[in-house]
């Protein structure tokens, strides 16, 4: 098995819970006119230690987004005054690049495409999975901080060399197919965080609907075998009903 010393590489990002990167509290602007949904999401943010500022209408949200800095913005689409797509466009036009996640009752492919075309970075449909919402917010924040463009990502015993497209565990080369590498890379970019089936389907396979076949589970199963074969400790954690998380593997 090939071995590699990551210390020789440049632009290495060390990820991990101890690194303080993944659990940094987020400052979130939340625009939602439905009070019950707003209360549920606020509770969720509070539970994860994040700061959430809630605005009930679009004009107030635009004002606040222009005056204060946020890590991420969650936008509803069907608001009383200005719709979420217009808010997104106006924010982008005025040069505000804060990651925007649209969370809407309009969840069809065409609705998602509209949202992303307007300038949003992510799109979730209601009913939402609370864990997934938080995972996506953190992924958005990480992406905007530019962490995913590094040459090498190291997490626990794993190394992901993005340019060379190679993977290592405990300095031993892992033989992955191109798609398995994409999956592994996605886990490494979201190291320490949960990724959901929907995130994987959307970002790895470009599918924004849920296939009737358990394709994600099976592909994760194959990757898991390759990551764990010959090593004593598990590499991927299944979070029941929600998604997966890569482990440090130590």
């Amino acid at each position: 098995m090939a071995t590699h010393d990551a210390a020789q590489s440049h632009a290495v990002v060390q990820c991990g819970r101890d690194g303080g990167m993944t659990n940094t509290p987020l400052r979130i602007l939340y625009v939602e006119d439905d009070q019950r949904t707003a209360a549920a999401v606020s509770e969720l943010a509070q539970a994860s230690g994040d700061v959430l500022i809630w605005e009930e209408n679009g004009s107030a949200a635009l004002l606040r987004a222009g005056m204060e800095a946020f890590d991420v913005i969650i936008l509803d689409r069907m608001l009383g005054d200005i719709d979420g797509l217009t808010i997104t466009r106006r924010l982008r036009e005025s040069g505000i690049g804060t990651p925007i996640l649209i969370m809407s009752a309009l969840g069809r492919s065409s609705d998602r495409a509209e949202g992303l075309d307007a300038g949003a970075d992510d799109y979730m449909a209601k009913p939402y999975e609370p864990d997934e919402l938080m995972a996506r917010l953190r992924a958005l924040h990480r992406r905007s901080a530019g962490k995913e463009h590094q040459a090498v990502i190291i997490y626990g015993s794993f190394e992901c060399h993005l340019k060379a497209r190679t993977a290592f565990r405990d300095n031993q080369h892992l033989s992955l197919s191109p798609k398995e590498f994409e999956l592994f890379r996605y886990f490494m970019e979201n190291a320490g965080e949960m990724v959901t089936r929907e995130m994987l389907l959307r970002d790895v396979w470009n599918i924004d609907f849920d296939p009737q076949t358990n394709v994600v589970d099976v592909n994760i199963g194959r990757l898991r075998r390759k990551l764990e074969e010959g090593f004593g400790t598990p590499a991927l954690e299944t979070i029941f009903g929600s998604g997966y998380r890569i482990l440090e593997g130590k």
């Binding site: 439905d34 949904t37 009737q212 194959r222 009903g241």
Partner: protein, 443 residues
């Protein structure tokens, strides 16, 4: 001429008008030419006949010598008006006795034959021959060269006048065609951009084209209104269903987080899955309606690498097929492109693959192929589809015999697949097979 100009009905109309006016000028010239020729020949014939009558009279009253003198006088005299006369008085052997012509032409004097003759080397004329007596015949002719000049002038006049006429027709035709082209072009543009229909082809009511424009604008407005109403209704429906379902799901999740008894937890998880299915059914129905409403509308479609997309999906499904004991194989021709919405086309293909994996028993074979055309075929060697089911297989909520209690299928997969195909102007059909089933998508 560009291809577009060749295809345009207006260019063809202008060309037809030019062709027709040219033909008209040619016909008019020909008729005029013939009429003039006939009239001139009749004039010459009349002069010849009058001259012959006079000479016959002279011969009858004064004899041969007087006739020869008179002929010599007339030959010597060049008339100020009319055609120059020519004569030949000869015996039956054709030997000249008087006159300026030297050779007897092929005209029979016994029947007073008349016709065109050559006069000298270059000239032409009209002549009549008569038998004056035994061994004496007379030929009287008139030169018709002057007629040729008249005819030439007529031809020149027609060439100039006709040319101007054709040019005028071409110019007027082009102007009329441009006006029509502009007006029809606006109607076409309105169909391409229905949002601007009224602005582009506002109703003026001047002629048939305005009437057509008016009908088009109203139809497009109605269509736009329907589309907006559909979008608004579907958005409200989604909002009014999804928001309360979201609250309900949240409550179920909270109940789950309170760590209930395993049996209760199981029920709660099932209830959440039901909510998810309900939302998916709603989405699929709206997607079907949306795709059907845009049937054959190619606006907004972009080139998609069908080969790459299907290969990626087959790779995604290969593990699941292996796990369920199916043999999934694919044969994809490289570089097959299609104009489409990639995510919608992905959905079509995954619905076909989901369908095959669901209904083909373990151990069965599933084959996927993509070829130029484009043609996509997903076939299997499963139990096939009964004749009773074949017609209804693409209907909404139809699950087929023996599958009506299948809790995993929404009964919308194939209906949605067909609606997506139609939205792309493609046909999705179930092919006749001896065994198994085969779905074919083609343009």
């Amino acid at each position: 001429m560009t291809l577009e100009a060749r295809r345009s009905i207006f260019s063809r109309l202008v060309l037809a008008a030019i062709g027709l006016s040219l033909a008209l000028v040619l016909v008019l010239w020909f008729v005029t030419h013939q009429t003039v020729v006939t009239t001139l020949n009749e004039g010459a014939a009349k002069e010849v006949d009058v001259d012959i009558a006079g000479l016959v009279d002279i011969y009858a009253t004064s004899g041969l010598d007087e006739l020869r003198d008179r002929i010599a006088d007339r030959v010597a005299l060049t008339p100020a008006e009319g055609r120059t006369p020519h004569y030949l008085l000869a015996n039956d052997a054709g030997e000249r006795l008087a006159g300026d012509l030297t050779r007897w032409p092929a005209l029979d004097p016994m029947v007073s034959e008349a016709g065109a003759i050559a006069i000298g080397e270059k000239s032409r004329g009209f002549a009549r021959a008569v038998q004056l007596g035994p061994d004496l015949r007379l030929l009287v002719a008139r030169r018709t060269d002057a007629s040729a000049a008249v005819l030439r002038n007529i031809a020149i006049a027609f060439a100039i006048g006709g040319g101007m006429f054709v040019l005028l027709v071409a110019l007027l035709g082009r102007l009329a065609a441009l006006d029509l082209q502009r007006r029809i072009g606006r109607i076409n543009l309105a169909f391409r951009e229905p949002g601007k229909a009224v602005e582009l082809i506002g109703v003026r009511g001047r002629d048939e084209i305005d009437e057509l424009a008016g009908h088009s604008a109203r139809a497009l407005e109605r269509q736009r209104g329907l589309m907006e109403a559909y979008k608004e209704t579907s958005e409200q429906l989604a909002h009014e269903m999804r928001t309360p379902l979201s609250h309900l799901d949240n409550r179920l999740l909270k109940a789950l987080q309170a760590e209930p008894a395993p049996r209760v937890a199981e029920r709660l998880v099932e209830a959440r899955a039901e909510i998810k299915r309900l939302v998916q059914t709603l989405e699929s129905l709206l997607d079907i309606a949306s795709s059907k409403s845009r049937r054959g509308d190619k606006a907004g479609l972009l080139p998609v690498d069908l080969s790459a997309m299907v290969t990626s999906l087959c790779e995604l499904y290969s593990g699941s097929a292996e796990e369920t004991g199916h043999s999934l194989t694919w044969e994809i021709a490289p570089g097959v492109m299609i104009d489409g919405e990639e995510r919608q086309l992905s959905r079509l293909v995954t619905n076909l693959l989901d369908n095959a994996l669901k209904y083909v028993p373990p151990g069965g074979k599933i084959e996927v192929s993509v070829g130029p055309g484009p043609v996509l075929v997903v076939s299997d060697d499963g139990p096939g589809i009964s004749p009773a089911d074949r017609k209804k297989i693409f209907d909404r909520f139809y699950r087929g015999q023996g599958h009506s209690h299948d809790a995993h299928g929404s009964g919308l997969g194939l209906a949605l697949a067909r609606a997506i195909a139609e939205r792309h102007g493609l046909q999705l059909t179930l092919e006749d097979c001896v065994s198994g089933s085969s779905f074919r998508l083609e343009g």
